[in-house]
Symmetry: C2
Subunit: 291 residues, 2 copies
């Protein structure tokens, strides 16, 4: 697994180019708001027992690049890309699709969480990934997290993902939107964490045609995110807000932190595979309240 195969390289290249396009789009919004904020990029190596530093192509465990911007519109946004590989720990391997017999794995993906300064602008999450064990599959999702929800924003967000899903089957959007509702749920409070989106996993790649199809779907999800979110930000970023709106935003962010620390599988995966702690917990809100 020292040299990426064509599928691994193609997936990785996509995630990195998507990262660049998203970060550029977000920086443009900052310019429109009169801010000079831009992303800082910090490279990190995967760490862990027996993991050599350095890129996979040189026998290391891989790593990633954490991009963070603290702006006027984007109070804190993190966009991570990572490409890691090695072996799962024995107790963790049993929990991962296709890793029970052989703990070797490869994972490449993009992960994004944006916490917005204005409580009228929704926070957002997007993550897509390509995993290789004895199986290969794509997974991902995106969901909108407004402290103050607007039906217009929710509908616009879902509309883009509905359109992205449409070529892949008549029931695809419905199934993945339902999966998002089930997944982005805070069981200990019995409430949804936001207004949903889509969630999908185990889009299996058994042959080249399935790779093309499922990689195509994953790209469509990325494009849908890029089409959906910036217009929502522009629509709300100049809305006046009150101290009480900020209070609600902070309480709502507390729930978001609870979800990520107690339930989120991506967080667990990162913590269990020697991911970079700052990259993994970059999803946590800049300021959260529990009153």
């Amino acid at each position: 697994m020292t040299i990426l195969d064509a599928q691994q390289q193609a997936a990785r290249d996509w995630f990195e180019s998507l990262r660049t396009r998203i970060c550029t789009a977000f920086e443009e919004i900052e310019r429109e708001a009169g801010s000079e904020a831009s992303f800082d990029y910090i490279a990190w190596d995967r760490e862990g027992p027996g993991v050599a530093p350095g890129p996979l192509s040189q026998g290391g465990g891989g790593g990633g690049v954490r991009g963070v911007m603290k702006g006027k519109v984007f109070e804190k946004v993190g966009v991570n890309v990572s490409t890691v590989g090695g072996e799962f720990s024995p107790d963790f391997a049993g929990q991962i699709h296709g890793a029970a017999e052989d703990p070797g794995f490869f994972a490449t993906g993009i992960s994004l969480v944006a916490h917005m300064a204005n409580p009228h602008v929704p926070a957002v999450h997007m993550n897509t990934r390509f995993l290789v064990t004895t199986k290969r599959w794509f997974g991902g999702g995106a969901d909108l997290n407004p402290p103050i929800p607007y039906a217009e924003d929710t509908e616009a967000f879902h509309a883009q993902f509905r359109a992205a899903c449409q070529p892949y089957g008549p029931d695809v959007y419905e199934r993945y939107a339902k999966w998002a509702d089930d997944y982005f749920f805070i069981p200990h409070r019995g409430v949804a964490r936001g207004v949903g989106g889509i969630f999908y996993d185990h889009l299996e790649v058994d042959n080249e045609a399935m790779f093309e199809r499922n990689f195509g779907f994953t790209r469509a999800v990325g494009e849908a995110f890029l089409a959906a979110f910036p217009p929502i930000v522009r629509r709300r970023m100049n809305t006046a807000f009150t101290e009480e709106d900020i209070r609600q935003q902070r309480i709502w962010r507390g729930r978001y932190a609870e979800f990520n620390l107690v339930h989120d599988r991506g967080t667990l995966f990162g913590l269990r595979t020697g991911g970079n702690i700052d990259a993994i917990l970059m999803s946590l809100p800049p300021l959260a309240a529990w009153e």
Copy 2:
């Protein structure tokens, strides 16, 4: 298990009287700072599948009282007492001492977390409990969590617990302080959450003499807390602080939230046994930052 036995009643009475003394002591500190803040008390019933509301003595699942004060010195302090009973869920019973064969349980205890307004005043946690399954035991602990540590405070805090442990054996304090260091540790960051204290568990009660001894120890821990913490608060509550101190306090509180949501056994116990969500998560800080 509908009527508490003498041990259960004695433990419950102690936890409730300790709560009253602690809350009174904390309100006195608020008075000294010129504040009229006082505790609000909210009673709650245990909930869950098949759990009847109401006190154990009337066949219900029990419940508790959540006390919260938001003051000038105590930015947010919660003191919970609860007395609950019933049956553990099958998957949880196997994880609990003495519950693998019989899922019936009784638990009574006090749990306290104080987040302080002034970053020079340490936050603090204290919890003691009496558990009954096919076994009976006491457990508990306390630890000091200063955003800005002072050796004088750390030593004063530990001195009270050292004195409380001393009659119970020459190595008791050392063992329980070590246990606290091991337990109050944030593994994903590789750092201690505070400056320690004591932690103990499974102080078994196989007969009346062992009940007297271990109940006596648990009372001594409560008394040590009451002797230790108010003087530390008084020593630091008027120290001038800066914006940067507040910033450090909020970042530090983020770590505290991480510990409680990812690792804390008491939090897990509460979530798995139908505890009151507001009481369980009362430990979370009023305002926390992840920059």
